[in-house]
């Protein structure tokens, strides 16, 4: 009651405090979403693969670009104990001659399970030869559904039939193709330029296609109930590395260092934000020393005074949290699609919980000053 009355009485002061809390919340939430966006942008195509486990060639450090599995490897994985389903995922670098400007990106060939791709525009399902489903961020390069893009320098063409989302790799939109197209692109990327420019004796196109046919980068595996990733790794022995998609997402391409850095940025911003919130309430308490002394002199317990402070903190942090969430969502909505921004309700929930926790911890400093306020000072006016 006292808490609310004081807020109503000093609207501007408390609105500014709530605004400051809101800005802190917005800052930490935006940084969290941008960090998540960065991770998604770097590895979304890996981490979002519909699988319980990803199987890499052994000793390739969970690197898509280095791992290579043959048809026999995939069959061995498929027939391993505890494997319910396995499909191959192939990776190849491509360069796209887009309307805006050419850009380098990645094509993923899937042997199966195209239904896993959420379609935000166009059509989904298995693409035909020469067709592709692309992450929607390719729009920023001027590519739209229905466009046919040319891959340089190999001269292949791909028709975009649909857009998917959260499927980027190393910050570039992934082009999903069927295995025929993948093998064609891979063979072309390996030998196409050489065939056109070198005088050396080269293997025939048929020989090259034969050499890459059926090869993929990794196998995406769905496990039987009760089978664990560790169990599959033990069953496959040392020839393969087996991890979850999330673990694969955070490996390679400098990801461990990057994740450490973004976590550090979030941590520092959060600690600073928490200190700001704590200091606000501490200063507010210090400004009310005389008033608190009078209330205590009238017979209020320290618990009564602290309860009023906690109620005030709860109200202001709630207002700040709502404002901050709105600001963070607004900031995200105003960012271009190519910009890394991936709000995760669970991470934002943790951020909010920590803001409340830190406000509570900050209130303990105020409690310390409340305990130290001598009610006798309410009567003290330079008289002894």
């Amino acid at each position: 009651m006292l808490a609310l009355s004081e807020i109503v009485h000093s609207k501007l002061k408390f609105a500014l405090i709530a605004l400051a809390i809101g800005l802190v919340v917005a800052l930490t939430m935006t940084l969290s979403a941008m960090s998540e966006g960065l991770v998604t942008g770097m590895t979304g195509a890996k981490g979002n693969l519909d699988a319980d486990a990803l199987v890499f060639q052994g000793d390739t450090y969970l690197n898509f670009e280095r791992s290579l599995l043959t048809t026999e490897d995939v069959e061995q994985i498929r027939s391993a104990e505890g494997v319910a389903q396995a499909y191959g995922v192939g990776h190849v670098y491509i360069s796209v001659d887009a309307p805006e400007e050419s850009f380098d990106t990645h094509a993923f060939g899937l042997t199966d399970d195209f239904e896993q791709l959420p379609v935000v525009e166009g059509v989904g399902g298995m693409p035909q030869d020469g067709e592709t489903i692309v992450d929607e961020t390719v729009r920023s390069e001027g590519v739209e559904v229905g466009d046919t893009v040319t891959l340089t320098p190999i001269g292949r063409e791909l028709t975009v039939i649909g857009f998917t989302e959260s499927r980027r790799y190393v910050m570039a939109p992934v082009f999903y193709v069927n295995m025929n197209t993948y093998e064609d692109l891979r063979a072309a990327s390996m030998f196409g330029v050489m065939a056109e420019t070198s005088d050396a004796e080269l293997p025939s196109a048929t020989h090259v296609i034969d050499a890459v046919e059926g090869n993929v980068s990794v196998a995406a595996v769905k496990l039987d109930e009760g089978t664990t990733v560790e169990g599959l790794a033990a069953a496959l022995e040392d020839d393969f590395d087996v991890v979850t998609p999330d673990e694969a997402a955070l490996a390679g391409n400098g990801m461990p260092v990057m994740v450490l850095a973004v976590n550090g940025i979030q941590g520092v911003s959060f600690v600073i934000g928490a200190l700001v919130i704590g200091v606000f309430f501490y200063i507010t308490t210090l400004h009310k020393t005389g008033q608190i002394a009078a209330i205590k002199a009238l017979g209020a317990s320290n618990a009564f005074v602290y309860r009023q402070l906690l109620a005030q903190i709860l109200l202001l942090v709630t207002a700040g949290a709502l404002l901050g969430t709105g600001l963070a969502l607004g900031a995200g909505a105003s960012m271009p699609p190519a910009m890394a921004f991936d709000p995760r309700p669970d991470r934002w929930g943790v951020t909010l919980a920590l803001v409340y926790l830190m406000a509570f911890v900050g209130s303990l400093f105020s409690l310390r000053s409340i305990l130290k306020i001598d009610p006798a000072t309410a009567l003290d006016h330079a008289e002894h």
Partner: protein, 222 residues
């Protein structure tokens, strides 16, 4: 029978050569339904004495007994409860809560003890009416004159039906005419409600409104 008995109360601050004596062997008693004015110049120890009786300060030595119960040995928590339930304090600077209206300032007292009921609100409005400021009940302290604020402060002190009223320089911020009115009003309420009142003042004219006067100089009763 005396409601309040103060026996040989002394209060010193500091230690060794830096010791300052604020009160020295102060002894007096006050009957129920009477008003005692503690008169003295600035620095005479009046407020220290008031603080000790309120349980806000511990005496260095001596006894304070209220209604047969020694109160100088109580813990801070017990002293706070005692002030909340048995004592009404009127501060020199009023110390009205600036963000509460006049009636809400009165309702602060029952809120300290739990919650304010409709009966408490009616009582608070009645007290403000008695003090002639009923129409100012919903006004904030900054909207009231000095005299009105003083009356709100006195009404707040009466909200919990205290046995003892402790009033600190009630006329310090008022002109003589308004000061005299406030002291007269205070006297009426003290006698009418069978309470005991200790009023600290440095103004001889205001002290004349009390039933007895205790003169304090340099911490001693003279």
């Amino acid at each position: 029978m005396s409601l309040l008995e103060v026996s040989d109360v002394s209060k010193t601050y500091g230690s060794g050569r830096g010791v300052v004596t604020a009160l020295e062997d102060v002894t007096f008693s006050v009957e129920t339904g009477s008003m005692l004015a503690i008169l003295g110049p600035s620095g005479s120890g009046k407020t220290t004495l008031l603080s000790i009786v309120a349980g806000l300060l511990q005496p260095t030595s001596g006894r304070i007994v209220i209604d047969g119960q020694p109160i100088h040995l109580r813990s801070q928590r017990e002293a706070a409860l005692y002030r909340r339930d048995k004592i009404g304090i009127v501060f020199q600077d009023y110390h009205l809560i600036p963000y509460l209206s006049a009636v809400e300032n009165l309702l602060l007292m029952p809120r300290l003890a739990g919650r304010a009921t409709r009966a408490h609100r009616e009582k608070a409005l009645g007290l403000l009416e008695e003090f002639g400021i009923g129409e100012r009940a919903k006004h904030a302290p900054w909207e009231l004159s000095g005299g009105e604020r003083q009356r709100v402060a006195i009404a707040r002190a009466l909200m919990n039906d205290p046995e003892i009223m402790l009033v600190d320089e009630p006329t310090a911020n008022l002109d003589t005419e308004r000061g005299t009115q406030v002291v007269a009003m205070l006297g009426e309420h003290v006698r009418g409600r069978d309470m005991t009142c200790l009023m600290v003042t440095h103004d001889v004219r205001m002290a004349e409104g009390a039933d007895r006067v205790l003169r304090l100089v340099d911490g001693r009763v003279v």
